[in-house]
Amino acid sequence: MMVDTNELLSLDDLHAAGSVRSGRKHVLSVLVENKPGVLTRVSGLFTRRGFNIDTLSVGPTDDERISRITLTLDGASQPIDQVTKQLHKLINVLKIKDLQPAETVARELALFKVSCDPQTRSEIRELAEVFRGKIVDIGKKSIIAEITGERSKIEAFEKLVRPYGLVEMIRTGEVAISRGREET
């Protein structure tokens, strides 16, 4: 649309943007000041506005005054622009980046406690090897495997070991960083 002329415009040509549901998964990388209560402010905002987070992880950055919150949410059911605008209003939030999937490396770590007997123990170890995972604990009746990767890889491993008897599973939620030289 032309905006730099003095010609009258047609109101019909104006199109509204905003409050869009993108229909895809979003990974938001949020830099926050490392101060008490910041996580509560972020999670409280989600509760109050009725936004639904899929995963959330928090950790330090190379600057001790700053933490990074990585959160994933479903852009099909959540108004992604409202989420980011409301987050921006929190005084302790410094920067928000909506990471594009193609330009992002995302990883999650999961621990699987699987029941086993002497025979199935080696089968599970082999599966973990195929997934480039590690066995981090072995007991008489159970084994713990550590798998790192994208969400799909972790879900695939879960599917494979479930028949052996999945005692427990724990996942960290995704952390993500943008590809290339530019900062996330």
Partner: protein, 564 residues
Amino acid sequence: MRAVDAIMECLKAEGVDVVFGYPGGANLPTYDAFYDAGIHHVLVRHEAGAGHAAEGYAKATGKVGVAFGTSGPGATNLVTPIMDAMMDSVPVVFFTGQVRTELLGTDGFQEADTIGITMPAVKHSFLITDPRDIPRTIHEAFHIAGTGRPGPVVVDLPMDLTKADIAYEPVTDVNLPGYQPRTTGNAKQIRQAARAIAAARRPVFYTGGGVVSANASEALRELVRETGAPITSTLMGLGAFPAPDPQWIGMLGMHGTRAANYAVDEADLLIAVGCRFDDRVTGKLSEFAPRAKYIHIDVDPAEISKNIPAHIPIVGDAKQILPKLAHEYRELDADQSRMDAWWQRIHTWQERHPLTYEPGENGEIKPQQVIQAIYEVTGGEAIISSDVGQHQMWAAQYYHYPEPRRWINSGGLGTMGFGLPAAIGAQMGVPDRLNVVVTGDGSIQMNIQELATIRQENIPVKVVILNNGYLGMVRQWQELFWQERYSQVDMHTFGGEEAFPDFVKLADAYGIRGIRLTESSSLEDDLRAAFEAEGPAFIDVRVTRDEKVYPMIAPGEAARNMVG
């Protein structure tokens, strides 16, 4: 010096001349500092009164209001004013006492998690953990409260830290990397907006409290006059554009004028400034201004496209943007006659559907008539503080606000009990102007203890109770939408000997002049006499019991289906 003395220095550096509060155990050190700090401290009778008074002060002056309360119940009593300030974007800094740091989290006496309780109700909050942070934190609190989209900031002060000895140096630079409100507005978007206005044949300005907050009233007037377009505003925006003006078409929304609501319904362009498309304004959202394109100017980007997608969003300070918009519009040299048919249509609505009511019979006083009389007696020059309910809507409809900051009410949260303490704050902030509280027999009883504050400070506010003996707005809804099943709305304040409380005697008990008015024909003279007499007055006006606020957009209905 003691940290509490540094707090006083900070308040003075921020230009604070009056604060509202209530002492207790955990803020004893602070009150020791107040003893000889030279700051006027108004002792209220309930912390909610302090909070609302600070709001009234802020709304009347545009400066940051300040309220103090102790820990625990003192802080929880402040929660309502904090939320109220959040909803109406009122700049107030709330200082709460807190238990000693060693008691934090142990359920100590009068301990409450103030930061946690208030978190969803604040623009920002600070829990002091190091006394050396106190001065900087206070200046940050004032900066956050008063800039961008204004709002409440809570500073929670553990008692032991306030007694600490710190080196105080004035803080002049506030640097908050995560808080950089945008102000100027995008030049291209502004130009685009000007062209849209010039192209529109049925434009309507729809403005809100943001124009008042931004002190952009003058800029708005120039722009609206430049364009020649009609203007309506929300409840919160009254006075930003003078009500007695040919371009003013009345308030819009649930109890707005038909002309305003119909105009918005048929508009081809809405120029929304400092407003947020609240449900009380829009009615059924999908049928709000269905033919219009939207220009939305607001300092808070999250408000833009929150409820309705904007076609031309402009983020920034209205005071900076509106003059630029007027300039761009002037450059286009638009043909004003394009709006002739539009104005004709609006004039037809105005003539056919003025705000009106049936006069009372046999000397009965109509509530609308009381507001009209207040308007006549004050010549529009008073600051009106309102409570919440029917009287609030009548005060919005029948008092014509010529200037901003003359209309002080609780719009977003709708807090009954707001009016009386808010008027205390307004009068402290603007001592020379006549202050009138318009309230109801329900609302007034929610913070009636503040009559003692009025007496103690000899604050000359004139309280006018539209007494119909009912929680009138609830009763109205029960009549219209709940099959006249009047559940728990009779306040027993109406009638003869059996009515209670007797508001005249009650005022008398506080040492305040109480007056009862029951006769329609002398109403204006009686009010004039009451307003002209020195000192506060508490005026019980007996009005028609079952009068309803009209016109009305029923909840969830479209504006074009207004009733009454």
